[in-house]
């Protein structure tokens, strides 16, 4: 079975803006094994 998450999160206004600490960023890779409770991103 499969679960798909779709969600909004802060991003830099445009690619020219420097990434700021509030921008959402995944901290996973494709193929990673992940478990309930582990961070997908911040």
């Amino acid at each position: 079975s499969t679960v798909v998450l779709v969600f909004q999160a802060p991003v830099a206004k445009s690619s020219k803006d420097k990434a700021s600490s509030t921008d959402f960023r995944f901290n996973i890779n494709r193929g990673d094994r992940i478990r309930v409770g582990e961070a997908l991103g911040r």
Binding site: S1, V3, V4, L5, V6, F24, I34, V36, G37, L40
Partner: protein
Amino acid sequence: SSSSNGNTFLLPGATVATILMFGALHARRLYDDRKVEEAKERGIEPGFQPDAKASFLNILPLRTISRIWGSLMSVELPVQMRPYVYKAWARAFHSNLEEVALPLEEYPSMRDFFSRGLREGCRPIDNDPQCLISPVDGIVVRFGELKEPGAMIEQVKGFSYSVSTLLGLNSFLPMVSGKDVVQKNGEVEDSHKDQIKKSWWRVSLSSPKIQDPIPASPMKGLFYCVLYLSPGDYHRVHSPVDWNVLVRRHFSGRLFPVNERATKTIRNLYTENERIVLEGQWQQGYLALAAIGATNIGSIELYIEPELRTNRPSKKFLQFEPPEERIYEREGVGFMVKKGEEVAAFNMG
């Protein structure tokens, strides 16, 4: 043929032909899989390539097969047999029996064992308020930011599906950018004005001609993440964040397998399969969770709606049926679910 001590036995021709045919098909499949592995090692991602098996699956009554499978798996096992059966399953599908909440003897059937809970403390929750946690155990298939025009997620290289088809055509999926609601002259399309007024996500529109008193807000992006649960995984779904679940959509659909091979060979896999979509709002805006069934896992159970049943017998052409929708009480507030709480569970049949 005849054995050494002179007596003979015969295999009917048809049996020999069937054995040879299956042998040839299996050899062909091993050969294809090896080619795919070699391409992957060379960093070439195999593209979308329908095959005979996918066409064959298309004509099979997969929902019925799934329900029969579920009935078989619901048969109560003798207590003495249960540990052997569940250990064999765990060995075959790499399940971790250390984490199982109850003694194995206490799961009456395979189906009860499949939707087992875990011992307390086995899944610590990352409590950083800015963090989004994985709702399930599984493998990260794909993730990223949804870009304009329109929001598509790649099922496999060469084939994508639209997020609004996955979540429901009347989903309140926020537009990725204001552009596709703004006509050429910079005015907002009437049909969308209401949605924008009501939507929790304010569109920062660049055109000065917009008269709406909508103040500019920090930019938000739309992200997605696809997670695959293999048969041996823990099959309960937890909440990724603190959020308000506002609406539930139940799509009765096909029950194709959703393994890696199926994603490469079956078109519209996720948007045609039976699924439940929960939509709502978290602190950063919109959030939706789609739980998608498969042939062996046709049941999706919602804790906030225990009476909801999926994979029910139906004579209609399900692909063309609109989803069953329910807006949770109080409109605009819905169900408040805490991060890490159990929200749903997959089950056999």
